[in-house]
């Protein structure tokens, strides 16, 4: 009965989210305080029932209830328990349920932590969150019911979880990514609520910022984790493939990055209001677009989508409703929004605008590259694929421009800076960075690459200017010394974010130029050298077979040595999963901050020989280390005490804000 109870619980969650979508908003329009106050309890109720439903599905997976179709198709009795639990979201139906749960959690969090918000704004925000909830719960119940049963022919055992997903990375990657995706619905709801009242002001931006930051941080971590997983699990040693599924998460990240910067300007200076709202709408729409791309089957083929259009059609309609509705509201409201502030072209406002333009162009680049093949296919123009060269050609110059600007932005003052203020202190920094950058490739083994020098220059530039910004912020002119107590969480957050990006960029540049890759045939006794100067030797010392839990592993033991000294034994495997007889490659990696040595098995060529892939990956870890710092930066910035100043937030509101005078657009 557990699946039925869970199903019923999801229906109840739907009812509550319908009420949440309607009652508080109606209350806000009518000025009925009682109705507006229902929002908080409805949000709680929606969360509780979504949680019960999710726990129910998890239970079915845990106890191997193969009468539930989702469980039968995606789990197996041989599966270790932790993978049975993660199998809950290793499939379409379960991952949509996770989406719903995370959305309900965000809704609850907004209800709990926004007590300083005026009642009517909170009511509108939660109503909009409720509408999104309705959309997704309906999607689950109508097209992707995870609790559907298979009676009376209950299978003896399940189909098994895709072996690629039987991995620690895939236990945590989807939840992190979804927390990020769904979190942008908060920024969206705030934007729509503010639009509907016409009150786009700095108080609105201040409320939105922490939520957006947290969502962005989780998305950053989710993407980084996905990249790391692809690196070690897919067996090819690449860390980014410009695959449509990756792009689907990268587009909201780019738009979200633009959004958090644009929100900063709106909060501090009260400008770019319309633009910020547009970005909030765009970011969330891209999250939905990502869901559509990944969930509708449209990526495999437009025709596959056309033959089973139910799910894709639903999300597409939902996407159209969200984009159409919010843009209509935007068109109606934004002409009335006016910014009364001027700024010069050397101001921080303007530099942040440039940053936004670059990020949006980058986002559009990815969007075009991702949708172009779908478009051509749908129009019957043939089957195209857009490869990494397209993305790299455009991304490298765009990012170089962005990084150059990143040094200027934090140094510039709001409103206007003189050339003297802006460029003079930066000149020495620029010179120092250039000298270091030009010299440092000599210190690295291998050839001199000008591209590496440029990469180091930009990374150093971002890092140095980020620290200079901190220095300025905490330097007391009157006492001419640094006052550490002036350091605020937002300073540290920005520092971490920018330095994190610098480290990631450095990792990308170094790993692209100093890595090497060999595919070769090896058998017992063979060895091969790798590394920039061939300082590492990998020798085939043994092989064998082993049965583990739910798979049979063929393995080869390699000895990794450097200058004759043995460092490690590497054991790459070829696994045959018993349930489906799927073959999987498990790479073996000797990891280090400055380099990874990566060995993967290809196919067994004959009785003694294996095809072996050997990678030397220079500084590849920096890519994910930098992303971790960026993610941490977003979270740290939220701890800034100005977001907790309850009363001052309210005092920024206009007198009409008691929830009576406004009507929705």
């Amino acid at each position: 009965m557990i699946p039925e109870y869970s199903h019923f619980s999801l229906v109840l969650a739907l009812c509550l989210s319908v009420l949440l979508a309607v009652l508080p908003l109606y209350g806000a329009l009518r000025g009925d305080r009682q109705l507006m106050l229902t929002a908080r309890s409805l949000a709680t109720g929606q969360f509780v029932f979504a949680l019960v439903s999710f726990i129910g599905l998890t239970w079915s997976f845990a106890v191997d209830d193969f009468s539930v179709i989702t469980v039968a198709q995606n789990s197996n009795s041989l599966l270790p328990m932790h993978f049975k639990l993660s199998a809950v979201w290793g499939n379409h139906e379960g991952s949509i349920l996770l989406w719903i749960l995370i959305h309900a959690s965000w809704t609850l969090a907004v209800a709990m932590f926004s007590r300083q918000l005026p009642v009517d704004i909170l009511a509108r925000v939660l109503s909009i969150m409720g509408m999104i909830g309705v959309g997704f719960i309906l999607f689950s119940l109508l097209t992707s019911n995870p609790f559907e049963r298979l009676f009376p022919n209950v299978p003896q055992d399940g189909n098994d979880l895709n072996p690629l997903l039987q991995d620690i990375g895939l236990i945590i990657h989807p939840p992190l990514l979804y927390i990020g995706y769904v979190g942008f619905s908060v920024a969206f709801a705030f934007a729509i609520a503010a639009l509907s009242t016409g009150q786009l002001d700095s108080a609105w931006a201040r409320w939105t910022r922490p939520w957006t930051n947290v969502a962005w941080s989780f998305l950053t971590l989710g993407i980084a984790l996905g990249s790391w997983w692809a690196y070690y699990e897919l067996g090819w040693g690449g860390w980014w493939f410009w695959d449509p599924v990756e792009n689907a998460s990268f587009m909201p990240w780019l738009a979200g990055t633009a959004l958090i910067h644009s929100l900063a300007v709106t909060e501090k200076r009260g400008v770019f209001k319309g633009w910020t709202v547009l970005l909030a709408i765009t970011t969330f729409s891209l999250s939905l677009l990502g869901t559509f791309l990944v969930r509708s089957g449209v990526l495999t083929s437009v025709h596959a989508f056309a033959s089973d259009p139910e799910r894709g059609f639903f999300i597409l309609m939902f996407l159209c409703a969200v984009i159409g509705g919010s843009l209509t509201l935007y068109a109606l409201r934004v002409p009335t929004v006016k910014s009364q502030v001027r700024f010069s072209y050397l101001s921080r406002e303007f530099l942040l605008l440039l940053n936004n333009v670059v990020l949006v162009v980058a986002m559009l680049t990815v969007l075009l590259g991702t949708l172009f093949p779908l478009l051509m296919d749908a129009l019957g123009q043939g089957r195209y694929s857009v490869g990494p060269p397209y993305f790299n050609t455009l991304f490298v110059p765009l990012m170089a421009l962005l990084f150059a600007l990143m040094g200027l932005g934090p140094r510039a003052r709001w409103k206007s800076s003189t050339k003297q203020q802006l460029f003079k202190p930066l000149l020495s920094a620029a010179v120092a960075c250039t000298v270091v950058a030009l010299l440092s490739p000599f210190m690295l083994p291998g050839e001199y690459h000008l591209a590496v020098a440029l990469g180091i220059l930009l990374s150093a530039w971002i890092t140095v200017t980020a620290f200079m910004h901190l220095h300025t912020a905490i330097y007391s002119k009157s006492e001419s010394r640094l006052k550490l107590q002036r350091i605020r969480a937002s300073h540290i957050g920005m520092l971490l974010g920018h330095v994190g990006l610098a480290i990631t960029a450095l990792g990308v540049v170094l790993t692209s130029h100093y890595s090497s890759e060999q595919d070769l045939r090896m058998q017992l006794g063979d060895s091969v050298t790798t590394g920039v100067n061939g300082q590492y030797t990998i020798s085939y010392v043994n092989d064998g077979e082993e049965r583990v839990d739910n798979y049979l592993a063929q393995y080869v033991l390699f000895e990794l040595s450097k200058d004759g000294k043995v460092l490690n034994t590497l054991r790459p495997e070829k696994r045959r999963y018993l349930a489906q007889q799927n073959v999987m490659t498990e790479a073996a990696i000797d990891a280090g901050l400055s380099r990874d040595v990566y060995v993967a098995l290809g196919e067994k060529l004959d009785a003694d020989a294996w095809a072996v892939r050997v990678h030397y990956k220079a500084f590849v870890r920096l890519i994910w280390l930098g992303a971790l710092l960026m993610g941490a930066g977003g979270i740290v910035a939220v701890l800034d005490k100005r977001y907790r100043r309850v009363r001052s937030a309210r005092s920024a509101m206009s007198p009409t804000f008691d929830g009576t005078a406004q009507s929705a657009g």
Binding site: T393, L394, L520
Partner: protein, 148 residues
């Protein structure tokens, strides 16, 4: 003009120029870096120029896979049952590569009419047929069952 309006206009013009430049670059990069899919029948019919970057695909003909004894050179025939395409590849084949299974290869045609693959793709699912391949087989009127 009101100074504020003037500034807004300047910004809009600036953004438009930036977007136009970006769009130009975008289309250029796109034109250089897309590649189209062709089934073996189209290649046999001479629709593809030598040296053009394309993708091709079909079924791996049973018994056609030949490996080198010394290195990772491999040679196999991809067919849509209307025409055959000989593919040469130097590297590791994906886990799901098998005879009588669908495959997509990326690379270019050489002077002798054979295909030099830089990449071989076969998906991680034994029931999966690359959509391009399924379509190509449908069009050529052949199917894997037709062989048996």
């Amino acid at each position: 003009m009101h100074p504020q309006r003037k500034q807004r206009l300047q910004i809009i013009v600036f953004v438009l120029i930036a977007v136009a430049i970006a769009a130009g670059l975008l289309l250029y990069a796109l034109r250089e870096n897309i590649n189209l899919f062709y089934p073996p029948a189209d290649i046999a019919a001479g629709k593809v120029a030598v040296g053009q970057q394309i993708r091709a695909g079909g079924m791996v003909r049973e018994g056609s896979v030949e490996r080198s004894e010394q290195n990772l050179q491999v040679r196999f025939v991809v067919t849509d049952y209307a025409a055959d395409l000989v593919v040469n590849y130097d590297g590791i084949l994906p886990d799901m590569f098998a005879e009588n299974a669908g495959v997509v290869v990326a690379g270019k045609l050489t002077e002798n009419g054979e295909f030099e693959a830089s990449e071989v793709l076969a998906k991680h699912d034994e029931n999966y047929m690359p959509p391009e391949v399924a379509e190509a087989l449908e069009q050529s009127g052949g199917s894997s069952e037709a062989e048996y």
